[in-house]
Symmetry: C2
Subunit: 124 residues, 2 copies
């Protein structure tokens, strides 16, 4: 961003803008930070491309009630965010993402969360 | 550490020393970084105190084969590490920890990983 301030971390700026967008349920704005050729390693496996990422993340945003940021750090290329989400089926579902940012877009994501409570909710 | 170098992050130093210890299976050294009154929120619930933490983490170190660090960031009080472990039952089990450090010891931990593949392994 060319606003004259010291840029502590471009990757962190993008990661937080992305986080703010999806946690405020502005999913279309969130997707503007996702590179067309994103590669995301999520608990259920690898997701390749923004179309597949949209199909992965969109339904989660639909069941999201709120999120609390736990930590966010980054450098020029990489950022890590951890947060705790409240969703309709699961009252506390923490997640962590390690994001690689290139030219203002997220190109690589390592996504960690516990699938167990979501599976338990579906089984109930 | 009073070795004359610039201390980028005391919390990160402790988090990485802890990580290096448990991933090299030196679990007793790892436990030296855990405060007696640690509070850890893990996928299965809250773990309070170093005795309970030892009972939680010890068995995991027993099944650990290796770990690859994905990212590590921190400031004076807080650090976040993300890594991918290979364990005997689960070939890829990524985890993320947000650690609060006080006086060189980890007093607070938010621990995120996916329990699903471990449950599937037990059921198989």
């Amino acid at each position: 961003m060319d606003d004259g301030r010291d840029v502590v971390s471009e990757a962190l700026d993008v990661a937080l803008a992305y986080y703010e967008a999806w946690t405020s349920k502005d999913f279309e704005r969130a997707m503007t930070f996702i590179a067309d050729d994103i590669v995301c390693d999520a608990p259920a496996g690898r997701i390749e491309g923004s179309v597949a990422y949209r199909a992965f993340m969109g339904p989660f945003v639909q069941i999201l009630e709120r999120s609390e940021l736990i930590a966010a750090f980054g450098d020029d290329e990489t950022a890590v965010v951890m947060y705790d989400t409240k969703t309709i089926p699961v009252p506390s579902a923490p997640g962590a993402e390690c994001l690689t940012v290139e030219n203002g877009k997220i190109t690589r994501s390592r996504f960690v969360f516990d699938r167990a409570p979501f599976a338990a909710s579906r089984a109930a």
